[in-house]
């Protein structure tokens, strides 16, 4: 059952070839058996899942046809789930049971999906390797000595290892696309404002966006149609009708103009990765697309601008974790200052502390103009880069990350090397554009990701292009060894 895609599972559930309970039990059994080593889940919600599965089966028997009725999925542990541990990968929230559901979680419940559990992640979504999680690192199912990518490493690994057909995730600088690339699956980060942030624990509010991961673009389309919604509880949510992303998947690519930015093929790009991407370009040409060379001149400023804006926002967003109302509190605080210092000092990991300090510095009196204001100016320039590009092309294509999965520990002592992992993905977050990653080859047995970037709210076209690519290739159906 687990080798089926989510779309196929839905058909079989509809055809009563198996029940949601059987499917759910199958995944729970796999998680129990295989995840001890992979560590892709922080929490499995077995009882809840079984109850939801039974309810889904009765509903289907009664003629209900909710779009995801009975399909089990996993949620990144950044989404609040009522009554369930929502840790955000941090010691700070290692005792926090959310008192409410994120809008995204609510949307999936309403669509009839079953919750298998909560997936591992870099602490507060800060990291590109899943090594910063308080709950331990996640192994890459393709190469167990390598990272799965981050911050949504748990979601990516569990889908790659077929421990769930699909999972929710979030992307602030590449946290969906980079782990999707490193784990050989498909992931989409929609336009900023497309998915509600209510109940999604904030890292950098102006960049955070929820999205999904699955085996195929078709599954991502199904998942996104449920996830996306206008939400009056999120002021940055955009009141725009959500299309049926599955409807246009088979649209012809004849005459589609695909831009290839020259800046995405420079120094630092692994040759094997470059070759896989060049091969993908040929596939698109054979499908009728027109390849256009474009330029995004401010690309090299993306990482520095991001590492001012994201830490600045996180320095304020994480102030609420003060040991006063919920979460971790130090033993025997002597006074208020001691309570703050030790609670935060003991419960935040190194990377989180580094970013809070960087952000605090960037916003300080006397430095604001040099850092924060300047970074916002750069951000506008990046937007303009893309606007000019999209005047000429319909989609932009390039590598998702500079190289395939790297070994544990190889970049942990060099934050800048780690930050450069997101060199191709960060610009879309700064611009608020939708982006996705899909498998386009293997290098030394490790997956390579192809990145597509769409114009604002043009997810349907992007998903269609990804789907047509997957009709023409079979990289997406490759599975890592040892997961059956």
């Amino acid at each position: 059952m687990h080798t089926l895609t989510l779309a196929q599972q839905l058909q079989k559930l509809e055809a009563k070839e198996f029940s949601s309970l059987e499917l759910t039990q199958h995944y729970l059994e796999r998680i129990k058996r295989l995840d001890g080593e992979l560590n892709s889940f922080i929490t499995t919600t077995e009882e809840l899942a079984l109850a939801q599965a039974k309810a889904a089966d009765s509903k289907r028997a009664a003629g209900d046809s909710a779009p995801l009725l009975g399909v089990p999925i996993a949620h990144k542990d950044i989404f609040c789930t009522d009554g369930v541990l929502t840790s955000c990968g941090s010691k700070m929230l290692s005792n926090f049971k959310a008192p409410y559901n994120a809008t995204v979680v609510e949307n999936y419940l309403n669509a009839g999906a079953v919750t298998l559990g909560k997936t591992n992640m870099d602490e507060f979504a800060m990291g590109s390797s899943n090594e910063t999680s308080y709950f331990g690192k996640v192994l890459n199912p393709w190469a167990r000595d390598c990272v799965p990518g981050g911050s949504s490493g748990g979601s990516a690994a569990c889908v790659a290892a077929r421990l769930a057909p699909a999972a929710t995730a979030t992307d602030t600088g590449g946290s969906i696309r980079q782990p999707a690339a490193l784990c050989g699956i498909t992931g989409i980060k929609p336009t900023y404002g497309r998915v509600s942030r209510w109940g999604m624990i904030a890292f950098a509010s102006s960049l955070d966006q929820g999205g999904v991961m699955a085996q195929t673009a078709e599954d991502c389309a199904l998942m996104l149609s449920t996830m996306a919604s206008y939400d009056s509880k999120d002021s940055t949510s955009i009141d725009k009708e959500v299309p049926d992303y599955s409807a246009g998947l088979n649209a012809s690519l004849d005459g589609l103009r695909i831009g290839v930015p020259e800046e995405y093929f420079g120094e630092g790009l692994d040759p094997g990765t470059e070759q896989a991407v060049q091969d993908a370009i040929k596939v698109y040409q054979s499908l009728g697309a027109e390849i256009v060379s474009i330029t995004l001149p401010h690309t090299e400023l993306a990482v520095p601008a991001y590492y001012v804006i994201a830490p600045a926002e996180c320095s304020a967003n994480l102030s609420r974790f003060d040991g006063v109302r919920y979460g971790y509190r130090c033993e025997n605080p002597q006074d208020l200052e001691d309570l703050y210092k030790r609670s935060r000092g003991e419960a935040f990991g190194e990377e989180v502390k580094r970013r809070i300090l960087v952000g605090t510095y960037a916003l300080s009196a006397g430095y604001y103009d040099a850092y924060y204001r300047k970074a916002q100016q750069v951000r506008r320039l990046m937007k303009q880069d893309f606007e000019q590009a999209f005047a000429k092309v319909d989609l932009i294509l390039g590598p998702t990350s500079p190289s395939p999965a790297f070994p544990f520990g190889s970049k942990t002592d060099d934050p800048v090397a780690m930050y450069l992992e997101d060199i191709y993905t960060i610009a879309t977050n700064l611009a608020g554009l939708p982006g996705m990653s899909l498998p386009c080859g293997l290098v030394d047995g490790k997956p390579v990701g192809l990145q597509l970037i769409g114009n604002y709210f043009d997810e349907a076209r992007m998903l269609g292009a990804a789907h047509r690519f997957q009709q023409a290739t079979d990289f997406h159906s490759l599975a890592p060894a040892g997961i059956e």
């Binding site: 609040c80 929502t86 409410y100 209510w198 999604m200 904030a202 002021s235 600045a312 609420r320 006063v324």
Partner: protein, 479 residues
């Protein structure tokens, strides 16, 4: 040396919206701790703010009332600092792009009108409260107030004395009450003042170093605090010292202030635009719609009171100042048909009683109809002005309506000539010597001597004799 005081005020005004500025919780005062704190107010992970349109509307009303410019693009910023009653670790406020820019409030200083310029007014959220009693050595946090919408009104340093500061504060209180954007309950913290004070030699242009005293919530505290601080600053300078820029805290119980923190210890608030809230754009149509909602403002009402009721400028100013007193006056006048008497009673007896009991007019135990009725009974001769005070006492104590009190206490004025003649006859019989003196006296001395007999008759009638009639009968009988 002659010193000049320079004062600027920052006034926090709680807006009386139905719900908080960024969440759907109620803002009602006095609820059990933390019963009006939602997920957003508790700053639960993952929660987000949504701006309350009503708070914007009320802030725009204020801006229009003080003749200010309305910020077409209004931006919220995060002001970062840690405190247990600040759940998010930052206050959402406005800095560079506030909702109200400029404007002015005119105050009465003696005979002259003085203009106090407003620098700006911005929207922000209130913090919760820390409770330091009854928690076994720990502190409690009540987040009911957290997220209550405030406008912070910042004046230019145009104020020159404690009197002017109080006049400004009263005027502002009257204005926001009249606009119906604030309940005006100072004792509940609905209006709180931060006072920036400096002194400089008279004639000097350069401002002296200022101190800021925070969180004064009564006019009286503000007045005392300013007087003390001015005195302190002058003393320090005259003793050869200099003023330290600092934040001070005034203690209303001991009437003393002490330094809270100096400029060096001041927080770096690291303001930056709140990414969870988009800039709010306000167009001319919206502004014009709000303008139509503006009620009559105190200045216009004052002019109308002079014109319509023939009140003096002084009376009109006093009665038009707040919506509550204006309504009370107009309702009492409507009932009594006598504006002058209504004004006198309101500013005399009623006001004295309110001051004595330290309550506001809205808390008074009598209403405008009752006062009007009382005046009506004076005018129709049922009771004398003197007896009216007894009836007023009873009214205040809640002993019933005017007519009921007059009836029950037998206070009706005696106008019956038979009864009055009887009293007069008795007084004349009992005071033969005085009667003889009176009759023998010169005509020009008689009016003065008549007073004695009036007094005796009043005493005999327990004050209920109709004075005009009594005079007439006495004169006849003594002739």
């Amino acid at each position: 040396m002659q010193w000049e005081t320079v004062i600027g005020l920052e006034v926090h005004v709680q807006l009386n919206t139905n719900t908080k500025i960024f969440s759907g919780s109620s803002i009602a005062f006095g609820a059990e701790p933390n019963t009006q704190a939602s997920l957003v107010d508790l700053a639960m992970p993952g929660t987000l703010p949504v701006a309350n349109e009503e708070a914007f509307r009320k802030a725009v009303m204020f801006g229009l009332a003080i003749d200010a410019e309305i910020g077409k693009e209004s931006v919220f910023e995060r002001k970062n600092y840690f405190y247990p009653d600040l759940p998010k670790g930052y206050q959402t406020t406005q800095l560079d792009k506030p909702i109200v820019i400029g404007g002015h409030v005119d105050i009465q200083v003696g005979e002259a009108t003085k203009r106090v310029r407003i620098h700006h007014a911005h929207l922000e959220e209130d913090a919760g409260k820390s409770l330091h009693e009854d928690f076994h050595g720990m502190s409690g946090i009540d987040l009911n107030r957290a997220g209550t919408p405030l406008i912070e009104i910042v004046t230019e340093p145009d104020i020159r004395s404690a009197d002017e500061a109080v006049a400004f504060a009263r005027k502002l209180h009257a204005l926001v009450s009249s606009l119906g954007i604030c309940d005006g309950e100072m004792s509940q913290g609905s209006m709180r003042f931060d006072v920036n004070i400096s002194v400089r030699p008279m004639g000097e242009d350069k401002l002296g170093t200022r101190t800021e005293t925070k969180n004064l919530n009564s006019f009286r505290f503000m007045e005392r605090c300013i007087e003390q601080e001015v005195e302190r600053q002058i003393e320090v300078i005259e003793d050869g010292g200099s003023i330290t820029q600092e934040t001070r805290l005034y203690n209303g119980d001991t009437h003393t202030a002490k330094s809270m923190r100096s400029k060096e210890e001041a927080n770096d608030y690291r303001y930056f635009p709140c990414p969870d809230l988009l800039p709010v754009h306000i167009d001319d149509d919206y502004i014009e719609q709000v303008r139509k909602l503006l009620p009559e403002l105190p200045a216009a009402r004052k002019a109308r009171f002079e014109e319509q009721y023939g009140l003096s400028a002084y009376d009109a100013e006093l009665l038009s100042d707040s919506a509550v007193s204006a309504q009370f006056f107009e309702a009492a006048t409507a009932k009594s048909g006598d504006a002058k008497l209504s004004a006198n009673w309101l500013m005399g007896e009623v006001s004295a009683r309110l001051n004595a009991e330290e309550i506001s007019l809205s808390e008074a135990p009598i209403n405008a109809e009752q006062l009007g009725e009382l005046i009506l009974r004076i005018k129709d001769g049922t009771i004398s002005s003197k007896i009216a005070k007894t009836v007023f006492d009873a009214l205040w104590k809640g002993e019933g309506d005017v007519d009921l009190i007059i009836e029950a206490k037998g206070l009706k004025q005696v106008s019956d000539s038979g009864a009055l003649e009887k009293i007069v006859d008795e007084v004349i019989n009992n005071n033969a010597a005085q009667v003889e003196n009176y009759r023998a006296a010169d005509d020009d001395k008689k009016p003065k001597m008549l007073g004695f007999f009036v007094g005796q008759c009043m005493k005999a009638s327990k004050g209920q004799a109709n004075p005009q009639q009594l005079n007439k009968i006495l004169k006849e009988k003594l002739a």
